[in-house]
């Protein structure tokens, strides 16, 4: 399955890029983040994040489909 991952804020800095295409066997956002965290040494625990799939907030355990775009959202600090 091929996915697009977009990175923002501290995750973008830690990953060193703002988006990537990825061939993965992860079937949910939770599995996907765990894979990326291990591979790239991302500092944030999954419990502090939210996730969006295809430009909407999503559940950690919803199935991912080929071509989906996933975004992991660090704690926000607007205002």
């Amino acid at each position: 399955m091929k996915l697009t991952i977009e990175y923002y804020a501290v995750l973008k800095e830690q990953r060193g890029c703002s988006s990537e295409f990825l061939e993965t066997s992860a079937s949910t956002p939770a599995e996907l983040y765990d894979e990326l965290k291990a591979r790239h040494g991302l500092s944030l625990d999954r419990s502090t994040l939210k996730v969006a799939v295809n430009e909407e907030f999503a559940e950690w355990d919803q199935p991912l489909k080929d071509g989906d775009t996933a975004v992991f959202i660090p704690p926000v600090a607007g205002g």
Binding site: L44, K50, A52, V71, I73, P74, V76, A77, G79
Partner: protein, 145 residues
């Protein structure tokens, strides 16, 4: 700037123009909130800061917040705008405005919108300090060594 919308802006916010959007003949009360870049945060001296956003989702979620405020409070109109990019001390980081027939809903609606923006909208703040490394606010483990 559209009525009842939330917007991410890369250019300076002009509150005096934004409030005009909310004027209507039925509105007798107008409340606004502005977030200004301070020179300190939790004891540290701030020199500058940068906001970034996941723009598409931020604007969707901001629009939902304003729709919720219109639904919950007797307000005539509301709007909000958040700046991104490099900001200086004193710059307007966020503006929220709400108008209504009476003042109670204007205050309550304005406050609801800024509270929810700070809680839910994917916008991040990176602060530069006089002493110490830059830091992503609220991302303790993400401080830049």
């Amino acid at each position: 700037m559209e009525l009842n919308r939330f917007q991410i802006s890369e250019i300076a916010i002009e509150p005096d123009k934004l409030r005009l959007e909310l004027q209507s003949e039925i509105a007798g009360a107008y409340t606004s909130f502005e977030g200004w870049v301070r020179n300190h945060n939790e004891g540290a001296s701030v020199q500058a800061l940068e906001y970034s956003a996941y723009k598409v989702l931020a604007e969707k979620e901001g629009d939902r917040i304003i729709a919720e405020a219109l639904d919950r409070f007797e307000i005539a109109g509301a709007a909000a705008i958040h700046r991104i990019g490099l900001l200086d001390i004193g710059d307007v980081a966020v503006w929220v405005g709400a108008s209504s027939a009476h003042r109670g809903p204007a205050f309550d609606g304005c406050r609801y919108i800024i509270d929810e923006i700070k809680d839910r909208v994917p916008i991040w703040k990176r602060e530069s300090y006089e002493h110490g490394p830059d830091q992503w606010v609220n991302c303790a483990k993400g401080s830049l060594a």
